[in-house]
Each structure stands twice: as C-alpha cells, then as structure tokens.
C-alpha cells in the first residue's frame, strides 16, 4: 500500500477506492441478483430438506419407538397368553394325569378284585372237584365191597327190608 500510495495521489486513491467500492457494489448487486438468491434459496431448500429429513427421521424414530412399544406390549401380551395357556395346559395335563391315575387305580382295583374272585372260584372248584373225586372213589369202593359181600341171604334180607319199609309207608 505504501508502494501504491507513493505513486498515487490522495484523489487517485479515493477514486480507486470508490471504483473498487462501486465495482464491489456492482459485483455485490450482480452477485445478489444472480447468485446470492439462488444460493440462499438452495441453502434454504437444503436446510428445509435437512429439517424435513430430520423431522421425518424423528417421526420415523418416534414411529419406530411406538411400534417397538406396541411390539413389546404385543410380545408381553403373547407371553402372558402363552403363560396362561401353558398354565392351563399344565392344569389340564395334571387333571388328565389325575384322571388317568384314578382310572388306572380303578382298573387295577377291579383287576385285583376279579383276580381274587377268580382265584376264590378256582380254589372252590378245585375243592369241589377234589371232594367229588374223593366221594366217587369212596362210593365206588363201597359199591365194590357191597357187591362182594352180598350173597343170596343178604340179597333176600335187602328185599325183605324193602317190603317191610313199603308196608310201613302205607301205614
């Protein structure tokens, strides 16, 4: 500046300064008219878009949170329902198991009772068969002995007894 000012006069400097200022102003007006407005508009648009994007992101975040909350609630509800179902299933299972056990006990009881009855019947049948065989053997032996012992006199005596009893029956 000092170099510049050495060769120039004060008026030149002012003129130069004014020229520069005018030039700057022209530049500024031109810039403002043709570049500044679109630039600002672009910046505004950019800012609006960013804000809008930001808002949208926020909204999405909120929506996502709401969705998550809803999802959590749903999960909780499902878990609760599942828990209830599980509890119900467990109760039902316990009930079925109880019924099965009771049935099994009943059947076992009936089986035991039947088995005892059958055993008793078989023992009784065996006793009856044993007695029948014993009695048959005794009667067969008695018959054989009687047949061997019976002679004419004894035959006659038996018929005589029959006639006597027959006569008594009439009386």
């Amino acid at each position: 500046m000092e170099v510049l000012t050495q060769g120039l006069q004060r008026g030149d400097i002012i003129a130069l300064l004014l020229t520069n200022i005018v030039a700057f102003l022209i530049f500024f007006v031109v810039l403002r008219k043709y570049a500044w407005g679109p630039l600002l508009a672009m910046l505004d648009a950019r800012r609006d878009k960013i804000r809008s994007d930001f808002d949208a992101a926020e909204k999405e975040l909120k929506d996502a949170e709401a969705l998550r909350a809803s999802f959590d609630a749903k999960i909780a509800e499902i878990k609760s329902m599942e828990r209830e179902r599980m509890q119900e299933a467990v109760k039902r299972g316990e009930s079925i198991a109880g019924e099965l056990e009771a049935n099994a006990r009943d059947k076992a009881g009936q089986f035991l009772e039947r088995a005892e009855g059958e055993l008793e019947r078989e023992v009784r049948t065996a006793r009856l068969q044993l007695r029948e065989k014993t009695v048959d053997m005794a009667i067969a032996a008695a018959e054989k002995i009687i047949q061997e012992e019976l002679d004419d006199q004894k035959h006659r005596k038996l018929v005589e007894d029959f006639i006597t009893r027959l006569g008594e029956s009439r009386a």
């Binding site: 007695r131 008695a142 035959h155």
Partner: protein
C-alpha cells in the same frame, strides 16, 4: 310210563266195542302179540309204510297174516288203524289197552326190578304189600337188573318205590357232596 293220549283214545274205542269178557281176554292177548310182532318185524313195518304199496294191499296183508286167527273186532280195529294212518302207534295202543283192562278189572301192573331173581315167597309178600299200597290187585312184572346192586325197585306208572342199594349209594353220595366245604 303211561301211554299217550292218542293211544289211550284208540284203546278206549277198542275196549268199548268188545262184547263180552272172554272176547276181552282174547283181544288183550292177541293185541299184545301183534304189537310185539310189529315192533320186532322190520319187514312188516316196511311193507305197511311203503308208499308204493296201496292201502288195499296193506289191508290184504293183514287179512292174510291175521285173518281168522284173531277176534273180528280186533281185525276191524287193525283196519281202522291202517285207514287212519295210526298203525305206528300200535305198541302204545296195546299198552294203553292193557292199562284200561287192568283199570276195569281193578288191577295194576307193577314193574319190579331186583338184582337177583326174586324168591317166590318174597314175590307173594311183595305183591300183597303192593296191593295195599297201590289199592289194587297188583300184577308184578319182575325183571333182573344187576346194576341196582341189591334190594328192589317197584314202578307203577308215575309212582316209584325205590329200595335199591344203587339209590341208597346215590343218596349217600349226594349227602357227601352237599355237605359244606
């Protein structure tokens, strides 16, 4: 065993047509003989029931075999049996006839079973005793059946007087079997 109702009805019809007691005795004997012959002779039965033999031929057979040898009333009765298709009942009719004749005479046929032959004096005493029990003049039909072992059994129709050792043993067996275990 008593004769059936059909046999008894025919026997009653025959009895009603017999004119006098001597004829009755003849008819009773002849009927019993013819019934026995009918039971024993398969040829006679086959001929009488052969579908290819006409009724007239059957009647002629009876006439040939029995004609002139039996009482006319019995011959007529046999014709009637052929005509009514009742010849197969002949044995039962003869039995029913015997029963009716016995009833008319106040007699009763009693079958007596013994294990060994019945002595004559015992048969007489048994007859007298049975006369009193049955209330009729009993005709004993004795037979021997060793399976009764000893004693005697008297059967008159549905009445059975059982004094056999076999039955006594059976009763003893029943008592032993009925005793509580």
């Amino acid at each position: 065993m008593r004769s059936d109702a059909t046999a008894r009805r025919y026997a009653e019809a025959l009895l009603a047509n017999i004119p006098d007691p001597p004829t009755l005795d003849s008819v009773q004997g002849e009927l019993a003989a013819i019934a026995a012959l009918y039971v024993e002779s398969g040829d006679l039965r086959n001929y009488l029931f052969d579908p290819s033999v006409t009724a007239e031929h059957r009647r002629q057979l009876l006439e040939t075999v029995f004609g002139g040898k039996i009482q006319p009333v019995l011959m007529h009765f046999l014709d009637l049996l052929l005509h009514k298709h009742r010849f197969k009942h002949l044995a039962n009719i003869a039995q029913a006839f015997d029963e009716l004749v016995e009833e008319r005479r106040g007699q009763a046929r009693v079958e007596v079973l013994t294990a060994v032959a019945l002595a004559e004096d015992q048969a007489d005493r048994l007859k007298r005793t049975l006369d009193g029990v049955v209330g009729k003049d009993c005709i004993l039909q004795t037979s021997i059946d060793p399976s009764i072992i000893g004693g005697a059994v008297a059967v008159r129709g549905d009445m059975v007087f059982d004094g056999s050792v076999r039955t006594q043993l059976a009763e003893l067996r029943k008592q032993l079997m009925d005793a509580p275990l």
